[in-house]
């Protein structure tokens, strides 16, 4: 029984991270119908920038203060938001009216550029986050261990998801984002500057992604330049499971995938985890091709 609860805690942690990253995929897809393959790499870039801040300000002694971690998050978020805007401007905007496939190729190219850029700037080797970056506290609740890092990841990702949900559904600009995703020309006729909406999505997504990326680094205490592939792919699958283009769907998909991964890892085999993930994806797409929440409302013509 305690294995089950332990895996639920682990799954919620990883699921929260997947959800944060999946939101970036889904928001861009919602508006541009483009899969931003560079998103996973942006998240990894966030982890590396955060790591640099932690190691350079934390000193060699090894136990950086909590404010250093806060600063690492701020630096990663700012840098990745800028990178997101540059990415949109350089890689996607010139291809806005081109064939869909051109933008996909551009996305793949941007992904490789960022990945190799990280390798050149930092290292081709796995970098380790220093020990004791975060308080080494853990709680034991009836045989289940929850670490400070896990609790932080779960709480912050849930808060961020709730805030994003409220922002998108209950503010004027949030409604404009949803409207632009439905029909760009009709949105323009409402006086919405759709380009500004697109840029905002390339700020919001990467901001959440940078946090997700740094969470990965802090949780697994390591970062390697090509991990955007693994984590990006998982988050992307989460977005599809939830219904790509649908914001609550990405949250749900992320959490579900995290829980499913942890349970499969705990009860079946962790070597089969990836295969099991794809199995879940196939099973869900067979039953609901649009993803769990990706249902389109019947529109009368």
């Amino acid at each position: 029984m305690s294995t089950l609860f332990q895996q639920l805690v682990n799954g919620l942690t990883v699921g929260g991270i997947y959800a944060l990253i999946a939101l970036g995929y889904t928001m861009v897809y919602g508006i541009l119908k483009l899969i931003n393959f560079a998103h996973g790499d942006l998240c990894v870039l966030g982890a590396f920038i955060g790591l640099t801040v932690i190691t350079s300000l934390g000193g060699a002694s090894g136990s950086p203060e909590i404010w250093v971690v806060g600063l690492a998050f701020v630096a990663a978020i700012i840098a990745i938001c800028c990178a997101g805007v540059v990415l949109e401007f350089a890689a996607y905007r010139p291809l806005r009216n081109a064939h869909r496939l051109s933008a996909v190729v551009s996305a793949l190219g941007a992904s490789m550029m960022i990945e190799n850029g990280i390798m050149l700037i930092w290292s081709p080797q796995t970098l380790v986050f220093p020990q004791g970056v975060l308080p080494q506290i853990s709680w034991h609740v009836g045989g289940v261990v929850i670490t400070f890092t896990q609790l932080m990841i779960i709480v912050i990702s849930l808060i961020l998801m709730a805030s994003l949900y409220l922002y998108v559904n209950h503010t004027r600009f949030g409604t404009a984002i949803r409207a632009s995703a439905i029909d760009q020309d009709a949105a323009r006729l409402m006086g919405i500057n759709v380009n500004r909406v697109i840029v905002s999505v390339f700020i919001l997504g990467p901001a959440l992604g940078a946090i997700g990326g740094l969470f990965i680094g802090l949780y697994y205490r390591q970062a390697v330049f090509d991990m955007g592939w693994t984590y990006g792919l998982n988050a992307f699958i989460a977005a599809i499971i939830g219904g790509i283009g649908n914001i609550p769907g990405a949250m749900l998909g992320g959490l579900l995938l995290g829980l499913f991964n942890a349970l499969a890892g705990g009860y079946i085999s962790s070597t089969w985890q990836q295969a099991i993930t794809f199995g879940l994806l196939i099973a869900i797409l067979l039953v609901r091709p649009t993803g769990i929440l990706g249902e389109r409302v019947a529109e009368k013509v």
Binding site: T175, A179, I182, D183, R188, L189, G191, V297, A298
Partner: protein, 237 residues
């Protein structure tokens, strides 16, 4: 009366195909003008160009003494030109109320509720359906929503692209009655229609657009009586 909108020698193309081949028209403040034309005449192209969704190749669109060609669509809305587009284009997965509130996007938030109440008093059906998703409305209700949403921008000039499209005759009649009420509040209206009779009954003046060119221009009464229009658009042989 001075012209609120004047279009001269407008050319618009899609790639190699020229959809508008030198269109000119004018609309005075407070006037209701109808543009008739069959499928493919270029009516929607004209409307999309006026709203800045399409960029004209040459010619000019002057509104309130300002050139609009090359202006961004969202800035044109801020100038006071609203459009209810062809096929209504309501945001299907947003509620009726969210659709309306988006119409007030360019205006202070404090004015949204008041404008919404005005639209509801013109179209009480929308108030009944306010928390329903727009995609689940009937065609007529969606058309009302598209017009209401355009009114939320507080336009001086309202562009209507085929408000009768795909609607039952009774509903068309109802919508044109509402348009009359809206025109009486002082909003200038430019309406593009295949339903020539309804449009000419509403309008003061009319134009006939044929394959990218204006073929006729006259008062609405004269156009209704003209044998040319009757044969081509009113189904009288």
């Amino acid at each position: 009366m001075s012209d609120l909108l004047s279009v001269s020698d407008l050319h618009v193309s899609y790639g190699q195909i020229e959809a508008l081949k030198g269109v000119s028209l004018r609309v005075a403040e407070g006037e209701v003008v109808a543009i008739l034309g069959s499928n493919g005449a270029g009516k929607t192209t004209l409307m999309r160009s006026l709203s800045g969704l399409l960029r004209a190749k040459s010619g000019s669109i002057t509104y309130d003494n300002e050139e609009l060609v090359g202006r961004r669509a969202d800035l044109i809305v801020r100038k006071g030109i609203a459009q209810s587009p062809e096929g209504r284009r309501v945001f299907g997965t947003l509620t009726v109320e969210e659709n309306l509130d988006l119409g007030a996007y360019t205006r202070p938030i404090s004015e949204t509720a008041g404008s919404r109440a005005e639209v509801y008093s013109t179209f009480p059906k929308l108030q009944e359906r306010r928390s329903q998703l727009a995609g689940t409305l009937s065609g007529g209700e969606q058309q009302m929503l598209a017009i209401g949403r355009a009114l939320m921008t507080k336009p001086r000039l309202l562009l209507l692209d085929e408000p009768s499209l795909g609607l039952a005759p009774l509903i068309v009649k109802d919508i044109f009655t509402k348009l009359r009420t809206i025109a009486e509040t002082g909003v200038t209206i430019l309406v593009v229609e295949q339903n020539a009779r309804m449009a000419l009954k509403l309008a003061d003046r009319g134009y006939v657009l044929e394959v990218g060119r204006m073929a006729l221009e006259d008062s609405a009464a004269n156009l209704l009586a003209s044998s040319q229009v009757q044969e081509a658009y009113l189904g009288k042989g």
